[in-house]
């Protein structure tokens, strides 16, 4: 069946303004949107630029806005979208556009790095594995699913107007370590988060949850961080009070 794709185009090299270009192609209902834009690139217009790699939703390269919602092009099928009308594709909002559907993600990754996103445990490691109960492991199951595709941060209205905000993805990464029973730098990370750039800036709009291709409850994780900052302050207070 023929479908019309209306795709955001911007070429920084020829001085022109951004515009939408329409492409009509024959598609099947079980095609991924990635298959569709490949069909366009490979058969109609080689200048169309976008990122992609794994093509099955694990690498996080091809997050883009499809019919007004952030999704992975390789995890969205034609049949998942409304049956009629144009399929509109835009680059992720809130990130500067470099060319067509390719955005500048540097600021996004810098925020991720700001939360010390690495495991810290300064004790001498045991000869074998550190023990962790299945329940303790479950506590970090959701945040470890994150593929850093940027959908959540790009969908967050707070991030749109406040570029100092760490954003949902970076906060989720902090959560992954703060709630890992083996990690020892939780307090340090909570100090970083206890700032106007941190979880307090989350106004529970839930856009991140709606858009996450891994179905992670990001807003819930951010709420837990808010609680944990409070608990940490109480812990410190009771310690100094003694």
């Amino acid at each position: 069946m023929e479908r019309c794709f209306k795709i955001f185009r911007f070429d920084p090299e020829n001085g022109s303004v951004p515009l939408y270009r329409e492409y009509r192609i024959d598609v099947q209902p079980d095609w991924r949107i990635l298959d569709c834009i490949h069909e366009i690139k490979w058969k109609l217009d080689g200048t169309l630029s976008f990122r992609r790699s794994c093509a099955h939703g694990v690498c996080g390269s091809d997050a883009m806005m499809i019919n007004g919602k952030n999704r992975l092009a390789c995890r969205t099928l034609v049949r998942d979208l409304k049956k009629r009308g144009v399929i509109r594709i835009d680059p992720l909002k809130g990130f500067p556009v470099i060319k067509d559907l390719i955005v500048d993600s540097d600021a996004f990754f810098e925020r991720n790095e700001a939360v010390k996103p690495w495991f810290v445990n300064n004790d001498r490691p045991p000869e074998k594995e550190r023990l962790q109960s299945p329940e303790e492991r479950d506590r970090i199951d959701e945040p470890t699913k994150c593929i850093l595709c940027g959908s959540c941060t790009s969908a967050c209205p707070t991030y749109w107007y406040d570029k100092a905000y760490l954003g949902p993805a970076a906060l989720l990464k902090a959560h992954r370590f703060i709630f890992d029973s083996r990690d020892q730098a939780g307090e340090e990370r909570l100090e970083i988060l206890n700032d106007l750039t941190g979880p307090y800036k989350c106004h529970t709009i839930f856009n991140c949850v709606e858009t996450c291709p891994k179905e992670i409850n990001v807003t819930g994780a951010i709420a837990e961080l808010k609680m944990e900052i409070l608990r940490s302050r109480l812990r410190k207070k009771s310690k100094s009070g003694r």
């Binding site: 630029s49 790699s53 470890t144």
Partner: protein, 574 residues
């Protein structure tokens, strides 16, 4: 016509090409005493290591009785005796420590009730050996290694595409690369270059591999006159989602899933009476194709069923959440209620750039190294996988040999000088880029690539014979000629993915030629290489590694012996 201006120069002690598990583990190790840069054509967390699902093999013995000794034998037998036994011994003996080290770095492995790392059965392994994090083990290992590289302030050049090795008087002194985002040539001078660019599954039509898996490192080495080893050995994973090739982990069968043909018969009982559905991948893939050929596919079509329903909803969602979601998303199959349609999918290159156990690239049977050049991971051939890799041995391979290569580089760079800024080394590459950007032919890279993928799929995949391979050879020659006449639509420099795809296609063509040449010359069946006209293994004539070099008239074949220490070749049954 676009003119490529003078290259931007960079210098680092160590340059690692590729940011998957092997590259990152090496970077982590080498950053202990050297200035390390990692260059990658995708952002590091996008690397294909992240798609590895099932697990990493190590004889921890957390679930049942196991030993490194058993792991070594399973791997040797799995390789159909083509793996080098000294290297396999290193791989398996270092496995437990390697997994513990990953755990100490924070990898969130799934756990047993007592808190130890959970393990599950896997194809070709005689014990319960696959350490895993649900069904996204590669993902968590990749992220953990990347995060520790950030901690150690490893310098990343993301979205730089390596085009060519800088080779001076035998040694390697750096890499010429293209800045994908901004456009432009960059020269990276380094005392040591490690290639960790992964596989080239994209040479086939149906593959589990990412679009990025175009064998860049192998092709660069080959173009620089370095031989490639055992290129005819390509693993087809038995269970790719029908038509799409998306991987359904062997862990699904490790957890109890079974394969059924069109008569709802558990056919693996006939092919591998003792291991059945968790026989090694070459055995299972051939069995599936036999069933399909003998008209026992589902509804007479070219697929079979993978049934995990009896595991029950709870266990499926706990142990195999991602594959449940893949089947639901892509083919609308709820694996809790229905069997999953599957067919073999091109998955892994056993062959690659020949190295020793310390990642040094060696060019002949005497182990002569190329000073300054190292390789690790799927792009390398140590050879620990021989004719067929066992599941979970590749995550192990990248971490063990990535680390060893990093350590060896640290030892070696003391004696290696920093090369001078010979700017003209990029001239040939600049010309080639300009040629591509100004090409006015009729051909498109996408058109030729799709033909290439069909040729390889239908003439050089699971079943091969002289006639098919000769046809493939002739097809490839024609495609090579047509490739010279390609035209790129995008003439710009910024994010010119059209240009990248065209360059990648040249590499895929070269690697396809090496695969077909090796397959034609190997007149026997061993591991994943099956010749219908020579259906038996021939140890007398072919218990040896293929080396293929770029010659004036195409690929040139020679051989080198297999290292056999303890296990003499025996008949391989499961």
């Amino acid at each position: 016509m676009t003119t490529i201006s003078s290259p931007v120069l960079h210098r680092h002690d160590v340059l690692i090409v590729g940011a998957g598990g092997a590259g990152l583990r090496a970077a982590l190790e080498a950053s202990d005493g050297a200035d390390v840069a990692v260059l990658s054509k995708v952002f590091p967390s996008r690397s294909h290591t992240g798609a590895a699902q099932g697990g990493i093999a190590a004889a921890l013995g957390n679930v049942d009785d196991d030993s490194c000794e058993k792991h070594i034998f399973d791997t040797v037998k799995g390789s159909d005796y083509l793996g080098d036994q000294d290297a396999i011994e290193v791989l398996c003996s270092e496995a437990p420590q390697t997994v513990y080290e990953l755990e100490h770095l924070g990898v969130p492995f799934s756990r047993l009730p007592d808190g130890r790392i959970s393990q599950r059965p896997f194809g070709g392994h005689s014990a319960t050996r696959a350490c895993h994090a649900a069904d996204r083990t590669g993902h968590v290992i990749l992220h953990t290694l990347y995060e520790h590289c950030l901690r150690k302030e490893v310098r990343f050049y993301s979205e730089y595409y390596a085009l060519s090795l800088i080779r001076e008087e035998g040694s390697v002194e750096g890499v010429v690369a293209w800045d994908v985002v901004h456009g432009g040539i960059h020269l990276f001078h380094a005392k040591a270059v490690l290639l960790a660019t992964g596989g080239y599954g994209r040479v086939f039509k149906t593959t589990s591999n990412a679009h990025a898996n175009t064998g860049d490192g192998m092709a660069m080495a080959y173009a620089a006159g370095i031989p490639l080893e055992d290129m005819e050995f390509i693993q087809f994973h038995p269970t790719g989602i029908y038509k799409l090739g998306i991987l359904i982990t062997e862990g699904a069968r490790g957890e109890g899933g079974i394969l059924l043909n069109g008569h709802a018969e558990r056919f693996m009982e006939r092919y591998a009476p003792s291991m059945k559905d968790i026989a090694p991948r070459d055995v299972v893939s051939r069995a599936i194709y036999r069933e399909i050929r003998e008209n026992r596919g589902i509804g007479g079509k070219d697929y079979v069923h993978l049934d995990i329903r009896h595991m029950g909803k709870k266990k499926i969602l706990e142990k195999l959440p991602d594959i449940h979601s893949f089947a639901l998303t892509y083919i609308g199959v709820d694996a809790i209620r229905e069997p999953i349609p599957v067919q073999p999918t091109a998955h892994y290159a056993m062959g690659g750039i020949p190295t020793d156990v310390d990642g040094r690239v060696v060019v002949d049977d005497k182990g002569t190294p190329v000073p300054g050049l190292y390789a690790a991971g799927e792009c390398a051939c140590v050879s620990v996988h021989g004719g067929n890799r066992l599941g979970c041995n590749s995550l192990l391979d990248i971490v063990v040999f990535g680390k060893r290569a990093g350590r060896r580089i640290l030892t070696d760079i003391g004696g290696l000088g920093m090369p001078g800024p010979a700017a003209d080394v990029a001239d040939a590459v600049c010309l080639r880029i300009e040629d591509l950007l100004s090409g006015s032919g009729e051909e498109t890279a996408a058109g030729i690539r799709s033909l290439l993928q069909e040729v390889m799929m239908f003439r050089c995949s699971v079943f091969r014979n002289e006639q098919l391979l000769r046809e493939a050879q002739a097809d490839l020659a024609r495609l090579r000629t047509r490739y010279a006449g390609i035209r790129i639509m995008d003439r710009g420099r910024v994010c010119n993915t059209d240009l990248i795809e065209a360059w990648e296609l040249g590499d895929l063509l070269s690697l396809a030629e090496t695969m077909v040449a090796g397959a034609l010359a190997r007149k026997e069946s061993r591991g994943a290489h099956f010749r219908e006209d020579y259906p038996d293994r021939d140890d007398e004539n072919f218990l040896k590694h293929t080396l293929v070099r770029k010659g004036a008239e195409g690929p040139e074949i020679s051989y080198k012996p297999v290292v056999i220490t303890r296990f003499q070749p025996r008949e391989r049954t499961y």
